[in-house]
Structures are given as C-alpha cells and as structure tokens.
C-alpha cells in the first residue's frame, strides 16, 4: 500500500490511526506525526520529512485547514519537491474510504466520503418503513 501520513495538532492523528486499526487491523503504511504543544513549524517539518520516503508517491491527511500541520504540508506541496496528495478535514470515514480504495485499487472520492459520514441523526429521526425485498 502507498504511504499515508496523518498529521494534526496533538494526538488526534495517533488516535485516528489506532481507531482505524481497531476496525481494519494493523496499518504499517500509515504514519502519524503529531504537532507538539509549543513546537516550531520548522521542527515539525523536520519530523515530517523524516518519515517521507523519497521518490515515492504518498498522501497526507491533515486535521484542519490553515493550522500549522496543514501549513507545513501545504508549503511542501508548493515546493514541488515532493509528489503527494494533500487533504484536510480528516476523519474516520475519510480514512476508511482511503484504505478501501487502496484495497480495490481504485481512487475513492475521499472528500465525498468524509462528508457523507457527517450527519445529525437526532434531527432526522423519521421511521423508515421501506423494507427492501428481492
């Protein structure tokens, strides 16, 4: 599987990796790099660069648009030195969609799937009496 790097403010990325491993098993090709409290962007970038394998296409998921992890990754993207896809707003559905896509060797629509997982359940609690049959 291609390399996927999760980056976030604090432990979110590490927890997200553990959560998906609970559902889909061990994920040796996912790295999680957490920005520490008070860590300088330059330091974070160094740690991020350490896990990147040169000359291989990879993907980065970040937690939030405009935050330090995102900004660091965005700068790397603009430098054109690395060949990667960059996504923000990561969540568990996005990650599962990515892993399923890798499995079936198709590019999933990660943004669509990440958004599709966001719903207010309590506001739409209508009884669905439509049972399907063969």
């Amino acid at each position: 599987m291609a390399q996927l790097i999760l980056i976030s403010h604090g432990d979110f990325c590490c927890g997200l990796k553990r959560s998906v491993e609970m559902i889909l098993g061990a994920q040796p090709d996912i790295s999680a790099i957490d920005l520490h409290e008070g860590e300088a962007p330059e330091e974070f970038e160094k740690r991020l660069l350490k896990v990147i394998k040169p000359d291989v296409h990879f993907t980065i998921f970040t937690d939030i648009l405009g935050g330090t992890p995102y900004n660091v990754a965005y700068r790397l993207l603009l430098s054109h030195k690395y060949n990667f896809e960059l996504y923000t707003g990561m969540n568990l559905p996005m990650l599962i969609s990515y892993l399923n896509g890798q499995l079936v060797k198709e590019n999933a629509n990660l943004v669509h799937d990440a958004k599709a997982g966001i719903k207010q359940i309590s506001a739409n609690l209508v009884e669905d009496d439509n049972d399907e049959s063969f």
């Binding site: 559902i23 889909l24 098993g25 568990l92 499995l103 009884e127 669905d128 049972d131 399907e132 063969f134």
Partner: protein, 161 residues
C-alpha cells in the same frame, strides 16, 4: 453470486461491513435472521449502517432459504450475514447450492463457549455443526476484515465429543 457468507453477532456493524462490501464489490446485503425483521429498532440501526447505494434485505432464515433457492438472488453480488453458527448451519442446510466458504467474523461469548479463534467463541454444538459443514465441503475461515489474514478451521481444531 455469493461473495461472502459471514457469521457476525453484530450483523451489519459500522465500517466492518462497509469494508467487506467495498473490498468484495458486493451490491446487495442479506441479513438472514428470525428476530431482526420483527424488531423495528434493530432494523433502523442496520439500515443506518448500510453502505450507500447498496440493496439491503432483512428476512427470516426460512425466507432467505426460499430466496436463495429460487435463483432470484443470482443477479446480485451478495453478502450474506447471519448472527450465529446455528443460523449459518440452518441456512446452509436449506440451500440447494452450498457456499464454498463460511466466514467467521465474530460470535458471542457465553459460559459454554471456548475461544476457537480471536473473537470467535464456540460451544460443543457449534463445533459439531462446523465439523458437519466441513464434511459437506464448506471451507470454514476466520477473517475479521478483508485485509486481515485468513485462518482456516480444520476438523482437528474442533472439539468433537
């Protein structure tokens, strides 16, 4: 055709099912269970967990046997999920064409069960049924998610009193 025949006491459980569904290229899910069709709350939560775009049919074991034998399900890439080994045995016993593989995802732990494999708890009766299925040519495989390793259950793994 049957893409997956799975025992999972959680039935359609969050992303586990979604992961199998995606990996198998399935387009239809059959929940074969005698209680679910009568239980509005369970039905609603299963519907909520269904992969988008999929056809989801929830019906009793008896009706499931009828559907499978009638050929009406042949046009689907079907994922069948049952709650227990007993239900799997009932369903397979009624099927004209037996599935090649029975996937064991998870069964409930009780006082009578032992751990056959991680997440798979079996009592003597379950193991007898599994042995019988093996004798009928059905391969028994333990596999949690489509990416994890398959462990095949052989007659030697079973306690047969």
């Amino acid at each position: 055709m049957i893409k997956l025949f799975r025992v999972d006491h959680r039935l359609l459980h969050g992303q586990v099912a979604v992961s199998w569904y995606g990996a198998l290229g399935a387009n239809c899910i059959l929940i074969a269970n005698d209680q679910v069709p009568k239980d509005a709350i369970r039905k609603a939560s299963i519907k909520m967990a269904k992969p988008s775009g999929s056809k989801l049919v929830m019906q009793s074991i008896e009706r499931s046997i009828e559907s499978l034998n009638s050929g009406i399900t042949d046009k689907y890439n079907l994922m069948i999920i049952v709650e227990s080994i007993t239900d799997a045995y009932r369903l397979i016993s009624g099927m004209k064409h037996k599935p090649a593989v029975l996937n064991l995802g998870g069964t409930k732990e009780t006082e009578e069960t032992r751990i056959l494999a991680p997440a798979v708890n079996t009592n003597d009766d379950d193991e007898k049924k599994l042995a019988d299925l093996i004798a009928q040519g059905v391969k028994i495989e333990v596999q949690q998610v489509s990416t994890s390793k398959i462990k095949e259950i052989k007659p030697n793994d079973l306690h047969l009193g």
